[in-house]
Symmetry: C2
Subunit: 467 residues, 2 copies
C-alpha cells in the first residue's frame, strides 16, 4: 500500500536529496493531450542529475510513495497521469537535457532532451536520427523510450527500441544501471535495456540513452499517390520494396475522411489533389548515390499500373514539406473534430485490408459515424478512429464508446493484431491488456514487476493494475 506525497514527505525529500527543490506541480503536469484524464499530485521534483534521481527514488521507496516519471507529457494513454489514490511525486526529467557525447554513430543524450533536440544534434554532426513523430518538439527522449515510440520511419529504421543502443536508468530501490554502450553488438547478459524500453516507467526511470545515428540518404524522394483501396496500397508498397529494397523509409495511408476533416476544421494545408481521393499514400524513399529519387518514383508510378490512378512527386524541399505537413496535421484535425474512440492498432500485413473493410462495415452498422483510418500502413499500424456524424456532438455517442472499442479490438485480436501498436498501455488500456493479453505473458510481467519494484512505487497503476 502506498502513502501520499504530503508536506511531511516533502520535508524528508528536501533533506534526503542534496540540492533538490520540492515544488507544487503546475496544472500542465496534470493534463494530457486528449483531455480525458486529470491528475492529482502532491509534489513535483525536477532533478538535475542521475544521482539526484536515484536519491529521490530511494526516498520514495523507503517511504512507499509513488513516482510518476514525467517527460514531455505527450502520451496518449494516460501513462503520465494518476487520477486517484495516494498522491505521487511527479519526477520530471526536463532539466536533464544535455547532449553528453556525439560520434558519427552514436548520440549520448539525457532523458529530458526533446526528440527535436536529438534530431538537431544529429543533423549538426551530419547524421540522421530517424525517429519522427508529430509531437517531437515536446516529446522527450525518456518518454520516447519508455513508450517505445514508433512514428513514420519505423519501416526502414525501426522503432525507439531498435534505435537505442543503451540506457542509464534508476531502478525502484535507487540502484543505477549504467548501460550507455556505444556498441551494436553486446551479448553480456539479460537485455534490461529492452525490458525497460516500453515499460512506461513502471520498471525503472531512464535518465540517459545512447541512440543510433545513421548516414543521411544521398537524396530523398517524396510522393503522394492515389490508390483505389488499402489492398492496392499494400501491393504498391510490395512493388516499391521489390524495386528499392530497404530504401522505402515511410509509407503512410491517408483516407479521404482525413482530408475532409482538414478542409472542415483545419489546420489549413495544401492538398495536392483537386478532389479528395478516398485512399492515398504518402511514400518517401532515400536512395544511394547515382539514382535520382524523382526518376525512381516516376518509375514506380509507371510500373504500378492499376494500383495507382494519380500521383504527385515532390520536386522541391518545399513541396516535400507540404506533403509532410498535410500528414502531420491529421492528428490535430482529428482532435478538433473530437473522436468518439481512437484506436492505435496493428495487423499482420496480409490481414490489413480485410480488417479495414470489416471494421468499417461493423461500425457503420452500429451508428451513424465517420471513420478516419490512416497511419503507418507499411508497419501494419493503423490509427482507426471513430468520429460523430457531421453536425452531431460526441457526447451523444458516449454510451457507444466502449462498444465501438470492443468491436475494433475483438476484430484486431481475431486477426492476430495488437490493441496498442505504438502508444502503449498506460492507464487507458489497462483492462484491455488484461482482457486480450496472453495469460502467460501477463503472469511473467507481474513476476518481473514484483521482482524489480516490490513496493510498486514506479508509475503505479500504469500497464499493470496495482495489487
Amino acid at each position: 500500500m502506498l502513502t501520499s506525497a504530503d508536506q511531511a514527505f516533502a520535508a524528508r525529500l528536501t533533506q534526503a536529496v542534496p540540492g533538490i527543490r520540492v515544488e507544487t506541480p503546475e496544472p500542465r503536469y496534470l493534463q494530457e493531450p486528449r483531455g480525458r484524464h486529470h491528475g492529482h499530485a502532491g509534489l513535483l521534483v525536477r532533478p538535475h542529475s542521475t544521482a539526484q534521481v536515484a536519491a529521490i527514488v530511494r526516498a520514495c521507496h523507503d517511504a512507499r510513495v509513488g513516482v510518476v516519471p514525467y517527460g514531455g507529457g505527450t502520451g496518449l494513454v494516460g501513462g503520465q497521469i494518476i487520477e486517484t489514490g495516494p498522491a505521487p511525486v511527479i519526477l520530471s526529467l526536463e532539466r536533464m537535457n544535455a547532449v553528453r557525447a556525439i560520434t558519427g554513430h552514436v548520440l549520448e543524450i539525457e532523458a529530458g532532451a526533446s526528440l527535436q533536440n536529438a534530431h538537431d544534434a544529429a543533423e549538426g554532426a551530419g547524421r540522421l536520427f530517424p525517429l519522427t513523430i508529430a509531437s517531437q518538439g515536446s516529446a522527450q527522449i525518456g518518454g520516447v523510450l519508455a513508450t517505445n515510440a514508433g512514428g513514420v520511419n519505423v519501416l526502414r529504421y525501426g522503432n525507439a527500441r531498435e534505435l537505442c543502443l543503451g540506457i542509464e536508468a534508476v531502478l525502484a530501490d535507487g540502484t543505477v544501471i549504467s548501460g550507455l554502450r556505444h556498441l551494436r553488438k553486446d551479448n553480456t547478459g539479460y537485455d534490461l535495456k529492452d525490458l525497460l524500453i516500453g515499460s512506461e516507467g513502471t520498471l525503472g526511470i531512464i535518465t540517459a540513452a545512447t541512440l543510433r545515428l545513421f548516414p543521411r540518404p544521398a537524396a530523398l524522394g517524396t510522393a503522394m499517390m492515389v490508390v483505389p483501396n488499402p489492398a492496392a496500397a499494400l501491393a504498391l508498397l510490395e512493388l516499391a520494396e521489390a524495386r528499392m529494397p530497404g530504401c522505402v523509409s515511410a509509407f503512410e495511408l491517408i483516407s479521404g475522411q482525413g482530408l475532409a476533416f482538414l478542409d472542415a476544421v483545419g489546420p489549413q494545408v495544401h492538398q495536392p489533389f483537386a478532389q479528395h481521393p478516398e485512399w492515398s499514400v504518402l511514400i518517401e524513399i532515400g536512395l544511394p548515390q547515382g539514382l535520382d529519387p524523382q526518376d525512381a518514383l516516376a518509375g514506380l508510378f509507371e510500373a504500378a499500373g492499376d494500383l495507382v490512378s494519380d500521383g504527385v512527386i515532390a520536386s522541391s524541399d518545399a513541396q516535400r514539406a507540404q506533403m509532410w505537413t498535410l500528414r502531420e496535421s491529421l492528428p490535430e484535425a482529428n482532435k478538433r473534430i473530437g473522436s468518439i474512440s481512437s484506436h492505435d492498432i496493428s495487423l499482420p500485413l496480409p490481414k490489413l485490408a480485410e480488417f479495414i473493410d470489416i471494421a468499417r462495415t461493423q461500425l457503420s452498422a452500429m451508428a451513424d459515424i465517420r471513420i478516419n483510418c490512416f497511419g503507418h500502413v507499411g508497419d501494419g499500424n493503423l490509427h482507426f478512429n471513430a468520429f460523430p456524424a457531421d453536425g452531431r456532438d460526441r457526447a451523444s455517442y458516449e454510451n457507444l464508446r466502449a462498444d465501438i472499442a470492443q468491436v475494433v479490438y475483438d476484430l484486431v485480436d481475431g486477426f492476430g493484431g495488437s490493441i496498442s501498436a505504438e502508444h502503449g498501455i498506460g492507464r487507458l488500456k489497462l483492462r484491455d491488456l488484461e482482457h486480450y493479453g496472453d495469460p502467460g505473458k501477463l503472469a511473467a510481467m507481474r513476476a518481473i514487476k514484483a521482482a524489480l519494484d516490490p513496493r510498486g512505487i514506479l508509475n503505479p497503476g500504469a500497464v499493470l493494475a496495482q495489487n
Copy 2:
C-alpha cells in the same frame, strides 16, 4: 538445491509426459566445438510439441531437476554443457523443426529447425532471411535466438533479436507464452521476447519464433579490398555508407595472419591476392534497381584514394562465393591451428583501431604469439584470437591463457567495449561477466532470474552463477 535426473526421475517423466521417450544421451550432446568442456547428463528428451516441452519442464520444476535446452550444439561458450553437479535433463528441440507458416514478411518456424532451414524457406518464398553465421547448417533457430546470434549481416539487417518479431516459449514452471506475433509494432506490455532472446535458456525455452523476412536486393555486389590498416578500413566503411546509405550489408576485416593460417592448415580456398595483405576487407552491398553493383564498388574504389591499395570485385556468383568461402573458412583454420585464447569482443567504432594497436603490442610483449584479428568490423565486433608461435604447442602457453584474456578484456573494458559481442556468456565467461559487468545490471538480472525461475532449473550455472 537441484537433484539429479536419475532413473527414478526418468520413470516419472515417462509417466508425466504422454508420448515422450526418455533416452540416454549420445556423446555428441556432451561435447562442444572447441573441445574445452565435456558434459555429464543423466537423461535426454526430444519432444515433438510445445505441450510436451511444457510437461517436461513442469516435471523438472516439481522435482527440482535442471534442464539444459539443446539446439545445434554449436555455441562457443559452454552454454550447452554442464560439467559438474546434479545431472540435468538435456531437452533437445531437434524434433520440433517445422515451418508453421510463411507470408511475404514473416516466417513462423519451430526452434529445432536449422538456420539453413530458415534461409531455404525464405528463399522458397522469394524472400531473404539475412542472419548468416558459419555454423548455420547445424545451428538451430532456438539457439540462434537464445544466444542472440549476430554474424555477417548485422550491419544492415540487425542481430537475431532485431530479426525476431515474436516467440513462443516455455517458462520454468511450465507456463507457455504464446507470442508468435506477425507484427512490426506491438506495444502491449513488457518486452519478454527480447528478455528471453539472449538469456541462453536460463529464463525460458523458446519453442518457436516469428522471423522477419526481407525483399531480396535487386543485385548484390561483393569485393575484397586491401587497406593499409584498420583505421583505413573504418574510413572506407564510412565512405561506403555515405555513398550507399543502408545498402552495405557486410563489412568484414581480414588479417594477413588469417590468410597465412589458411595456407598452412587449410581449408584450401582461393586467395584473391598474390601476396597476403596485412589487412583487407570483404565488403558486400545490395542495391536498388537501376544501379550496377560492380560499378558502385568500382566507384567506391576510385573514391577511396589512399584508403585502398588493391581490390578485386566479384564478377560472378562463383567469385562471390569464393570470397565468402575464404571468410567463412577462417574459424576452421583457427580451430586447426588451435588458439591459446579466443576473444569475441566489440568496441565503439572510434576506438577500434587504437584497441587493435595497443592489444597487439601488449600481447606481443607478454609472449611469442600470433594474433588473428578478424571479424564484423562494421559492427565494431572483432574476433581477436591469440595463437602459439609457429612450431610451438598451445599446451606450452597454458599458464598464460588467463593472463592473455585478462589483458584483452581489461583493454576492452577500458575502451567501453563488450567482452562478449555475439557468442554470449554461457559458462566460459561467467566470472568475466561478474567482474566486468555493471553491478546494478547484475543485481537486476539475479532478481529477474529468481522471479521467473525461483528453483533455478533452467540451464543452471549458465550466465549467472547458481545460488
